[in-house]
Assembly symmetry: none
DNA sequence: GATGAATGAGTTTTCATTCAT
DNA sequence: TATGAATGAAAACTCATTCAT
């Protein structure tokens, strides 16, 4: 009778544990966070946590899966708009840099944790690749659209340009947390946008 | 008469330990590598290793310091050449992508380790920032030179473009190891080079 | 339903660990006793022990705190008796020498460990001083009482005499363990008692 | 031809090492002092130190042997004086309390180290006992002398009184370092002297 | 299911002693 | 004889995971 209720309940519990873990992993890092830390932060018992997630790594993996979903939807909704490809790219840039500004160092650090894990653990890598491919494909589609519409140069290599753009954004995020540089995101955005615009438009 | 050993010998020993550590850190990661692993891999005793490096972290830090020196010199020698700014940038691209191709996943993974460490440990961050600044400044100087020579657009923001370029390269390297994508570096290089050329030239 | 364990149970476990530690510390000394020794002697696991005490030092400290409580209560109860001050002192001597006889070398050695630790570690010193002050004050009060009652000489320096008496007892205990002399406690007691009696009475 | 010279030289070297060790052992304690510390403090090499002393413990033992010699000679010279037994005891008290005042905490701590070691290590104990016996016997002789001269009570138990006096002095020294109390040695001395005088004289 | 005490292999690091030079 | 680099056993402590209740 109650499977639905308890399933929901289960999800809520999981969510709480994930939230606590996220906080700790991003603040202290995966290795420096102990299950005891998570117990304290989440208020759950050891046994409960192991009831919901089979290991610390599993918890981390689950977190990685969710990390993407955040901004992706906004990005997707953007594509469906009727407008020029270049406008779409610029709106994407707005979106990305907006989140870049408001997002804390900790989120960027968490991202680095995910990247490092992906570079070593097959299941993480698969997930990470899937996520990156979604974004790259999305951008690639916009570029292809722009080429076909005559906005962009005909010789553009859509897939690789998309990969480059994604890498640039990722690289900037990393630069921020790894150097602690106080970057002026507005200036960077306009430098990037204008360079790309000149770089790809006819 | 004395086991007092030449500075050279000491350096050689250090180098061997560093090499063994490098292998392990990049293959398994910093945290997953134990001092016992390093003992086994290097053939040194525990005590000997601690005689050369005061902690596992110190070993890692030393490795980070050395990591930069590798390609930087080539990059620097390039700047002094007499040629157009755009040509310099292209030669830099050649250099970077060449190393990208031949370099193993392990080096890139190691790079991610360094980045993550830099995002959390002050002394690593200081070092990392210094290293990044050298490259960014180098590129920024070339760009400024290009602007002054009338090669590039006058409104270019040299520093930020440089930061963007460095981020792009770093991001691509990360994309490689984190997704395991089989990237076609030649195509990526030409996509990047042509985009940037159009993007910044008058 | 829950392994949540009563406070009593927790105390019992602690007590067992403390007992095992006491045995080892007094037999082998603090430094020569390893946590592994305590693991073996107590039958607990490493983790369990660290669950109850946060460090080997903490274990030692806890032991020190308890060491005093043993005979102190008897000593205190004595004070409240209605009798001449000199009689009180003699009864105290009886008490002290009685425990001196029955007590093993190990307890005295343990005492030396505590003294050495107190001479170097601030928290131990604070505790030790507190314990010593209780006894000194107790004796000092008896002496003052004796002076006021006209039993003892008027010019007696109650505090310092008390400190001297406590030192004498401590010194004798140390002499026992450090030299292994086979002391005749009865004779020593009467020598001390008669000397002090003549020494302080009018 | 040169055994004498090198024997002297050897002694001088030993003395230097012992001095350095003494400094460290009393400052930091036996266990907390490493051979490397002694190397640094003494300026000798590891090998040299092991050439002179067969182990860290041996070094400590040698130090213990010397520790007594210090004041003992003065004490002995005192005995031979022509004067009343009570006067001898008082001069002994002067001597002891004078050294008590000027001597640092570190010397007292070192004493505790010796005591603890003596309570556990047979060879140390033998040495320690020998040293204590010399002093106890010396005092005992004075007391016997006083009894025979009719200065002191006839029923005095010379040996045990001597042991008690030695214990009192040792106990006071320990009280000083273990509690950090700021003792007024002058007052303590007069309290002790007058008590003992009344306590043992006819 | 939930709890948290218990486990114990594994971690980094130290240091008395040895020995090739 | 002097040196100090090298050794490696042993130390204190951690922590992901299990399981009796």
């Amino acid at each position: 009778m109650s499977p639905k209720v308890s399933e929901e309940h289960r999800m809520m519990m999981q969510e709480k544990i994930l939230a606590a873990s996220m906080t700790l992993f991003s603040r202290k890092g995966f290795h420096e966070t102990s299950m005891d830390d998570i117990v304290k932060e989440s208020g759950f018992s050891k046994g409960a946590i192991y009831g919901y997630f089979k290991s610390k790594e599993d918890l981390f993996f689950e977190l990685q899966k969710r990390s993407a979903t955040l901004s992706l939807n906004e990005l997707k909704s953007m594509v469906s708009q009727e407008e020029a490809a270049i406008a779409k790219l610029e709106r994407a840039a707005d979106l990305v840099f907006a989140s870049m500004c408001e997002v804390s160092d900790e989120v960027c650090r968490m991202d680095l944790e995910f990247q490092l894990a992906s570079s070593r653990m097959p299941n993480m890598r698969t997930e990470f690749k899937k996520q990156q491919m979604v974004i790259i494909t999305l951008l690639s589609d916009i570029i292809t659209e722009g080429i076909e519409a005559g906005e962009f140069r005909k010789d553009l290599d859509a897939d690789n340009i998309a990969a480059i753009l994604v890498s640039t954004i990722g690289g900037l995020s990393n630069l921020l947390v790894t150097t602690g540089m106080s970057l002026d995101w507005d200036k960077i955005k306009s430098a990037l946008v204008s360079t790309v615009r000149y770089g790809i438009m006819r």
